[in-house]
Amino acid sequence: MGCAAVKLILEQVRETRGDWQFSADATFLPGIHLVTGRVGSGKSTLAEIAAGMLSPGSGRVLREGISSGTLSLQYPEYHVTGATLAKEAASYGVSPEEALENAGLSGRGEDDPFILSRGELKRFHLSCLSLRRWDLLVLDEPFSALDCRGKKRECERIPALSPGIVLVCTHEQQHLPRTDFLWEMRDGNLHALGKVPDALPFWQTAPKTVRTLVSQGCVPANLTDRDLEEALCRMRD
C-alpha cells in the first residue's frame, strides 16, 4: 500500500488525568505535522495516543493503511534495551555500523549506551530510527538534549525520515523542520491551524521571529532557518 493511502484519524479522542483533560479530533495525512504548544499542554499525551502506546479514555484512533509505526520518546535512555551500542542498533533491526556512523560514533559499537551523554544517545537513537521506513513516525521532543548543531542536523533529516506521516511534537522555538501541517495544543485541546505558510498567522505560540515576520507582512514560505532568513531579507528590503 502506498503512503498516499496512509491516514491517522483521532475521532473525538478524550483522556482525563485528574482535573486535566485532553481532547483531539483530527486527521493526519502523509507529510510533516508540527505539533506545538506550551510545556504541559498535552503534546506527549497526543504522541502516545497517536503511536498506540496509550489507549484514550474515550473516542477512537483509526490507523488506515499504517503497517509500521513507532514513537520516539523524549528521553533517549528510555529506549535502551541492549547492553552495547551494537546490540542496541540491532534491537531496532538496523545495521549497527550504519547507525553508529550516522550518529558520529563510528567504532564504538562495544560501548555501553549509558556512558554516552544524553545528547549523543539521542543522536544515536534518531539515527537508528532514520534507517527504517515508517508509515507513522511520532517524534516527541526530538530536539531535546541536542545542541544547536544537532538540532539543525535533525531538522534537515526529518523530511527524509519517512514518506508517511511524521508527527513532530515539540516546544522548540529556534530550529524547526520543513513543515507541511501546523497544529497547536492549547490547554489539552488539539487545534488544527492548517497548511504552512497559511497557518502561520493563527499560531499563538509561534517563535518571536515568526510572529515579527507575520506582523510585518513578510510571511515565510516555511519554518526552516533558510525560510526565515529569506523572509527577514525581504522585510529589510
Partner: protein, 217 residues
C-alpha cells in the same frame, strides 16, 4: 492511616496475630477492610499473586509431609496481604520522620534516609521496568527468558548510576552523618480506633479459645 507511628504499631501487632493463629489472620483480613482503597490496590498487584503462588507450593509440600499446610498458607498469605496493603499507605518522607522520632537525629536520620532511598529505588525500578516494557513494545520485542539477562543488567546498571548520582548529591550538599528533621504526624479518630482494634485482635489471637472449649467439654 495517617499517623506512621500508629501504622507501624498496627503492622507489628497484626503481623504477630496473623503469624500465631488462623483466627488472628482472619481478623486481620477484617481489619484491612477498614482501608478498602489500599486493600483493592494491593489485590491488583501481580507480585502479590506471584508470592502467594510460591507460598501455595510450600504449603502443598508441607501438607504432603504431614504438616498443616492450609493453616500455613492462610497465615502467611494474610501476612503478605497485610504488607502489600500497608505499604500503599506510606508517603515519601514518612520513614525519615518515623526513624528520627524513634532513634533521634543521628542514627535515626541516617537509618531513615537509607530507608527512604531504598523505597525510592523500588519506585524507580518499577517505573524503569514499565519503560523497558514500552521500549520492547516499540521495537516489536517480547520480554522472554532470553531478554532477562539484558533487562536485568539494564535495571541494575541504571540503579547503580542513580545511586552514584545520589551519593554525589549528598556529598555536594555537605552530608556526613545525621541531620535535622522535625517529624510531624497527623492523626484521626479512625486511626486511633483502628490501632485499638489491632490490640484486641492480638489478644484474641493469643487467647487459647480451643483450650477453654476442651476444658468445657
Amino acid at each position: 492511616m495517617q499517623d506512621a507511628r500508629l501504622r507501624l504499631l498496627s503492622v507489628l501487632l497484626l503481623s504477630v496475630a496473623s503469624f500465631i493463629s488462623v483466627a488472628g489472620a482472619a481478623l486481620t483480613v477484617l481489619w484491612l477492610l477498614l482501608y478498602p482503597g489500599y486493600l483493592v490496590a494491593a489485590l491488583r498487584s501481580r507480585a502479590l499473586y506471584l508470592l502467594l503462588s510460591v507460598l501455595g507450593l510450600v504449603a502443598l509440600v508441607m501438607t504432603y509431609s504431614g504438616g498443616d499446610g492450609i493453616s500455613y498458607l492462610a497465615r502467611m498469605g494474610v501476612l503478605l496481604l497485610l504488607g502489600f496493603t500497608i505499604v500503599r499507605g506510606w508517603s515519601p518522607g514518612e520513614f525519615l520522620d518515623l526513624s528520627v522520632w524513634l532513634f533521634g537525629g543521628k542514627t535515626g536520620f541516617d537509618l531513615g534516609l537509607a530507608i527512604e532511598m531504598t523505597m525510592q529505588g523500588f519506585d524507580e525500578a518499577s517505573r524503569e521496568w514499565s519503560r523497558v516494557k514500552t521500549a520492547l513494545q516499540l521495537k516489536d520485542m517480547q520480554p522472554g527468558f532470553r531478554s532477562i539477562p539484558a533487562i536485568g543488567f539494564l535495571l541494575i546498571h541504571t540503579r547503580l548510576l542513580r545511586a552514584r548520582d545520589q551519593s554525589d548529591l549528598l556529598i555536594t550538599r555537605g552530608y556526613h552523618e545525621g541531620g535535622s528533621c522535625c517529624p510531624v504526624f497527623r492523626r484521626s479518630k479512625k486511626d486511633i480506633i483502628a490501632s485499638f482494634c489491632t490490640i484486641l485482635i492480638l489478644c484474641i489471637a493469643l487467647f487459647p479459645f480451643r483450650d477453654i472449649f476442651i476444658l468445657v467439654m
